[in-house]
Symmetry: C2
Subunit: 476 residues, 2 copies
């Protein structure tokens, strides 16, 4: 559905109904008007009513009963789950990474649409303005200047790099378009940044736990990983990092300071500044994977490490894959002093990024509906965070701890000690449910009793049944 186009009317209707529930005008168990009634009384289309009810349902405010209609839901039960608070305590050893074989089949299976995507890395594709993007792509493709197929090779379309630079202004960052290299998604950007800064055999500091794709990138480039102690809410321990920088002289530090995957935590702005100061002092490149930056839930936009980067030691990577255009594969590296090396790596790795797709995104961004789409997406994900956390609190075993992220779409779930998340993930997959087990987020295979749950899909009956089943497996 195209949130950019149709958002206003159904959101207004949903907000009206939500307000009635909040005021008590509509009480738990009350039946909502039928779609036909609401359509007539509000003078809106059936689709608008349906969308509004669907949104309220995803927020947990109403429930559908088969062949009966929509009813105001009972307020969520108080979650039994607490929030994890203890920082991780990795041993600080540099390790060769061997993760790909473990996770490859699991990840591949999770891309099938019949699998319940609790382990998915993506939010629901229904949440993105794909038809509007499609029209932008149609226009860019049918009016493609043939010479642009040569001129917009690496570092990429100047128009798109300008649009990206404009978004950096929102974070108070004056990005230099000459330091931006357009890539095939953030994943390629991160690989290129690693290759531009490290030699095979180098050590790279990673969070504990860290995103498994970071480990895949290290493995394929023959790099070793050093896990650094990480607070689930505020990110890496800077003292521990300082010790490692002195002791191991790593080739780079890889972090996600906003809505870290999988923990969901974010560094406060002052800590970001201290982190950037630290890597400046040690002259170590800081590679930031910042793909969830735009998915914040608080009114205040989070800071960017790039805002504190005066000497170009931060290689800031992001994409549109999680926020706007899944499957289009457009990302970038804003690579500071390493921009030339990253562009060289890009030429050698894949020459260029698809040019009609770059131009389509530039044109979409220029029209200015990105922010409206993001507002809708953030509100939806924020609601789903609460609904999922409450539901998991209800159906997972006692002693479970669930993170409370302020952005993104992942819940880090600590199951009671003794639970084997790898075995759980295998059993769940056999029943058509994917979950991401903790050990894939650690080169040492730690976090054996943790799972990452994706809350980026509406909590419908299928997802409820899947979560309930995973809770049963975890409990038994």
């Amino acid at each position: 559905m195209d949130l950019g186009m149709a958002a206003k009317r159904y959101e207004t209707l949903a907000d009206d109904i939500a307000a009635s529930i909040a005021r008590g005008t509509l009480k738990p168990g009350d039946r909502l008007p039928s779609v036909r009634q609401a359509r007539a009384s509000r003078n809106v289309s059936a689709a608008t009513v349906f969308e509004a009810y669907y949104l309220l349902e995803s927020r947990g405010l109403i429930q559908s009963r088969p062949r009966s209609g929509y009813y105001v839901a009972a307020p969520p039960t108080k979650a039994r789950a607490a929030v994890p608070t203890a920082p991780s305590q990795p041993d600080g050893q540099a390790r060769e990474v061997k993760i790909t074989d473990l996770i490859f089949d699991m990840l591949q299976a999770a891309t099938r649409r019949e699998v319940v995507p609790l382990g998915s890395a993506f939010p629901s594709p229904l949440f993105f303005p794909l038809p509007r993007l499609g029209r932008a792509l149609a226009a860019s493709a049918t009016h493609l200047d043939p010479w642009s197929t040569v001129e917009h090779l690496t570092p990429g379309s100047l128009e798109l790099r300008r649009q990206i630079a404009q978004r950096y202004l929102l974070d108070g960052v004056r990005a230099d378009v000459d330091e931006i290299v357009v890539t095939n998604g953030a994943m390629e950007a991160l690989n290129l940044c690693l290759a531009a800064t490290c030699k095979p055999g180098s050590a790279v500091v990673v969070e504990s736990p860290c995103f498994y794709a970071c480990l895949q990138a290290l493995e394929r480039q023959g790099l070793r990983a050093i896990e650094v102690a990480t607070d689930p809410r505020t990110g890496v321990d800077l003292e521990a990092l300082d010790t490692i920088l002195v002791r191991d002289r790593p080739g780079a530090v890889w972090v996600m300071t906003n809505f870290q995957n999988p923990l969901g935590g974010s560094m406060p702005a002052e800590k970001k500044q201290a982190l950037v100061d630290l890597v400046h002092r040690h002259r170590v490149p800081l590679i930031e994977d910042d793909v969830y930056h735009e998915l914040y839930f608080d009114p205040q936009r989070p800071a960017s490490t790039k805002a504190f980067d005066r000497d170009g030691w931060v290689l800031h990577c992001s994409s549109f894959s999680k926020t706007l255009a899944p499957g289009y594969r457009i990302g970038w590296a804003n690579a500071g002093r390493f921009a030339r090396e990253v562009a060289q790596q890009k030429l050698g790795a894949s020459l260029a990024t698809s040019i009609p797709v770059q131009l389509a995104l530039a044109s979409y961004l220029e029209r200015g509906s990105y922010d409206r789409h993001l507002r809708g997406l953030r509100a939806r994900l924020r609601t789903q965070r609460d609904v999922y956390a409450a539901f998991i609190g209800d159906v997972f075993p006692a002693g479970t701890r669930v993170a409370h992220p302020d952005g993104g779409y992942f819940l880090w779930v600590e199951l009671p000690e003794g639970c084997d998340a790898l075995a759980l993930a295998q059993r769940a997959l056999a029943e058509g449910i994917s979950v991401s087990p903790g050990p894939i987020f650690s080169p040492a295979g730690a976090f054996r009793n943790c799972v990452r749950i994706n809350f980026g899909h509406p909590l419908d009956a299928r997802v409820e049944a899947a979560l309930t089943r995973v809770g049963e497996m975890a409990g038994g």
Copy 2:
């Protein structure tokens, strides 16, 4: 221009005129009808006449004279240039590769449209059906199934892999769609194949000379290169290769057996078979960069190494970038026994290839106009080969040798001994002309008196002036 749609009318007109020239009805120096006259007498549009004359001009049959019109050209003078015949004689040492810094600025400068693209890696973007592809992309993008953005992740769209497998049938190859991984162009495919088969420090056998991007890929992956003696017409010396395989036990062999870049030579089918037998015997992966396969000039389609590959040791890479869709960045690896490793590398390197673009190509190929487009493209390039070779024979210094490729769009030009191609390339670029100097095709920096000339752009007055100027520089 859209060859698929508009080809017929102007090609018919051009063929009629060409026949009149061949019969002697029109003689050298005769003036052709003006565009207005031809339009009226043929009942076609001015654009059609223009296109027909343009095509005849690119074939060297007619010439425009400023403010006067088009005239039948004199038959090409006999080229003074001979064809290079001696195989290269590299020293067989394994070398670290350091080429990127040398060529990066040169390659970047050559992408500017105001530079005469004699050194370009691409044929003219005007030769491709970009409007028709654009319509296919418009359709795939506006009707994108949101779930396809997850399901068509690596290894890629099943529809596109099926279309690719069908083209393999033309070469007598039964390709397994499960062994095909869709990539961001052939460049990514080749990188992934290297990473799937070699470890940092491994040696890779390369042709002498070989495509510079092969050397870039080796450099970025920390691989060493061993050059093997290569015949300019028939490819690598299999005895020399056998010796290297025994002595150095390399991680892989990288070849282009069809219209090798830069030499233009092709292995005869029996030699391809012997090559595949050889790597089977030594159990060494053969990585084939086969991006020019479809651009053959003879009536007979060339063989594919993959046709002789019974045990999956051939990793066959190609793309649509040189034949159909420049700038779209769609390629693939048909990776035999290494398919799983290549897919894992793809996931780790860039996760996936742009999904609307994959679907657009699948839909274009399904409609069956690819072969018609290719027939037109081959005829055009074949003509340009002759026109360029004759022109170079006229304006380059005595003693120049020019290859005679049976496909592709590169002429390998050996200048007289003592010419410094690197200096020549720098001087030419300062005057707005790109050429590719021989040393960038060799890890040892050999071929100092050679240049590669792209004949994939119409030989118009601007290109004539550029070739003339390069010939002067080479002579003085």
